[in-house]
């Protein structure tokens, strides 16, 4: 642990320390990070935002509400080659040595989602491709002082503020970002970038801003009695209505930060003597998902597929991973052309 001498007093920087990043130093800070890491952060794309590798620090936009896809895409890649093979069974595994990367400006809901993916891919038979990316990844998170129109993390306790799962955590205090240190790696970054330490009272200001944000939420998903509610309403009329409107296009799962399903395909090279095995994101909303040989399908009915998504997120993640499968990011609501809204489904079931 180092001593911050530049402040003129001796305070140790470590986990739990506070520092300040003045807004006019943001780009310098990102620039410094880029010397050490691949930096992936929110950038503008048309009128929306996406996570993208930062080439120029000035691309970074910390004023975003939500991104189209979650940062999951750099950990569980939409397409991932597993290995190459030859006809005789010879296998060459994909190189799994990646440069260290920083996920920059990640909102609390997405950090929570990553910790769920860590459980899904990290437990028993750990997934070597996800783990290789994950182990090389630092998270610089950003508490939400802005609230998107479809956000409801406050009712799931996955936002707008974050308690754990970060290396550094930023909060917008107006002229500067408060920086909370969450790990040894985070400590190292604060030291190397020479951020000034901040006094404890800054936490009061942080809480004030977050309380202000909490008042802005327009949606909520109450978790009290949720399991019983879902178990009792497997045949609620809402499902009939959803079959009529849902297109079963899979957009809702493609944008979801906690969805982990994938499909596997073999691609043969032109020589026909070698090829690659590749996996790609899949969706339980698609007809082919549960299809097996001879045209049998375990979830042919759209009804069954709609229920699979909602019940998986709100009921089955709990026994599987010890946590709810929805982090309240609202992306599935934004992505749905038919405006199907997971919070609305629960409101209807509760008969509110």
């Amino acid at each position: 642990m180092a001593i911050a001498k530049h402040l003129g007093f001796n305070e140790r920087i470590g986990i739990g320390s506070l520092a300040l990043l003045p807004k006019d130093h943001l780009y310098d800070f990102v620039d410094q990070l880029m010397e050490e890491f691949v930096v992936v952060g929110p950038v503008a794309k048309g009128s929306e935002f996406v996570f993208s590798e930062i080439r120029d620090p000035e691309q970074v936009r910390l004023d975003y509400e939500t991104t189209i896809l979650p940062p999951k895409k750099v950990l569980h890649r939409p397409f991932q080659t597993l290995f190459s093979f030859r006809e005789d069974g010879g296998i060459t595994e994909e190189e799994r040595i990646n440069k260290r990367q920083v996920l920059f400006g990640v909102h609390p809901c997405d950090v929570h989602a990553i910790s769920i993916l860590d459980k899904a891919y990290g437990s028993e038979y750990p997934d070597p491709y996800y783990m290789a990316h994950r182990e090389q990844t630092l998270i610089i998170a950003l508490n939400c002082t802005q609230v998107g129109k479809n956000c409801f993390c406050h009712s799931l306790d996955t936002g707008p503020s974050l308690k754990e799962g970060y290396d550094l955590l930023l909060t917008d205090l107006g002229c500067s970002y408060l920086v909370e240190v969450g790990s040894e790696s985070g400590t190292g970054i604060v030291e190397r970038t020479g951020l000034a330490l901040a006094p404890r009272v800054k936490m009061v200001e942080k809480e004030k801003r977050l309380d202000n944000a909490r008042k802005k939420f327009r949606k909520r998903l109450l978790t009290q009695g949720l399991h019983e509610l879902l178990e009792e309403n497997f045949r609620h009329p809402i499902w009939e209505e959803l079959i009529k409107s849902c297109l079963a296009c899979g957009s809702c799962t493609m944008v979801c930060p906690t969805c982990f399903c994938y499909n596997v395909v073999d691609k043969i090279d032109l020589s026909l003597k070698s090829g690659r095995r590749q996996r790609e994101w899949d969706s339980c909303m698609l007809l082919e998902y549960a299809q097996v040989a001879l045209g049998h399908n375990f979830r042919r009915d759209r009804d069954a597929r709609i229920k699979q998504r909602i019940y998986h997120k709100l009921l089955y993640y709990e026994p599987q991973f010890g946590t709810l499968g929805c982090v309240g990011c609202g992306r599935c609501i934004s992505a749905c052309v038919k405006k199907i809204d997971i919070t609305e489904i629960i409101v209807r079931m509760r008969g509110e």
Partner: protein
């Protein structure tokens, strides 16, 4: 880090045609050390790769005590399984496993065993039958009910004589229909018709069943009516599987991953789930 998705090369040592669309393959891992370390529980499955085509979950159908090779009995129905049908002895396939839960061999100790199989569903039960024969004294009465579409669709026909000859073993057959003017000394009708002549009772008995899901639904319903309970009936389920190790999500039913929590389940484990979640096979 070990890569659970990496298949190991295995050599096809022997090919035996069971029926017009089903074949039993005897395999050994190319690497002798891997073969020496490999063992499985009756009821477990492997992921079988045909490089360039894909992977399919296939139950292990051989004697678990045989450590020098293992067998798969495969019905040729699609891309991977049809390509397999074109391979010759000496060809290489990829294998990884074993995965999933096995039949409750430990709980079966000292108990009577009723086995109800339909079609290819006899494959994952053959390791149990071979185990019961080898360790005969550890188990009570054994009754095997097997149903197939026609007499020509029956698996392991050359072994029935040996099974029937065993002490306190009873083997009953039925087919859905008889083709041509073939002599058929057994029953005609779905597998549940064999319940009429079955001797097994709920008392001190465990039931193991595998076959098309629609068959298992009838079997289960019928057994429950006959006084068997959900704790003593075990079913082996089939689902789409792309990983076998609880990662790809494909095989989920309710909170269960069939590849890991199953494929063998005590009926009681599934009973709490709404019927739609189980999604019994819809055939079109």
């Amino acid at each position: 880090m070990l890569n659970p998705f990496r298949p190991e090369p295995a050599v096809i040592k022997e090919i035996k045609k069971e029926t017009h669309d089903t074949t039993t393959y005897t395999l050994t891992f190319k690497d002798a050390n891997i073969q020496a370390d490999y063992f499985f529980q009756p009821g477990q499955f492997n992921m079988i790769t045909i490089f360039g085509i894909g992977e399919a979950p296939i139950s292990i159908s051989s004697d678990p005590d045989n450590r020098s090779s293992f067998q798969h009995t495969v019905r040729h129905v699609g891309n991977v399984t049809n390509k397999l049908a074109t391979l010759q002895e000496g060809a290489i396939v990829g294998v990884r496993g074993p995965y999933g839960t096995g039949w409750p061999i430990d709980l079966m100790q000292g108990k009577n065993v009723l086995i109800v199989a339909g079609g290819i569903g006899l494959a994952p039960l053959r390791p149990v039958i071979l185990h019961l024969i080898k360790h005969r004294a550890e188990f009570g009465k054994v009754e095997i009910l097997y149903g197939a579409r026609t007499p020509n669709d029956m698996l392991y026909t050359d072994q029935y004589a040996d099974w029937s000859r065993q002490d306190r073993f009873r083997v009953l057959f039925t087919v859905d229909r008889i083709t041509g003017d073939r002599q058929w000394p057994h029953r005609v009708g779905v597998v549940t018709t064999l319940f009429q002549e079955m001797e097994s009772t709920p008392e001190n008995t465990l039931v193991l069943t595998c076959g098309p899901e629609i068959m298992m639904q009838f079997v289960v319903k019928n057994l429950l009516q006959r006084g068997f309970n959900q704790q003593q009936i075990y079913v082996s389920l089939e689902r789409r599987m792309n990983c076998g190790v609880r990662k790809c999500g494909k095989c989920q039913i309710g909170p269960k991953f069939v590849c890991r929590d199953g494929p063998v389940f005590a009926l009681a484990e599934l009973a709490a789930l709404p019927e739609e979640t189980l999604g019994g096979v819809a055939i079109e």
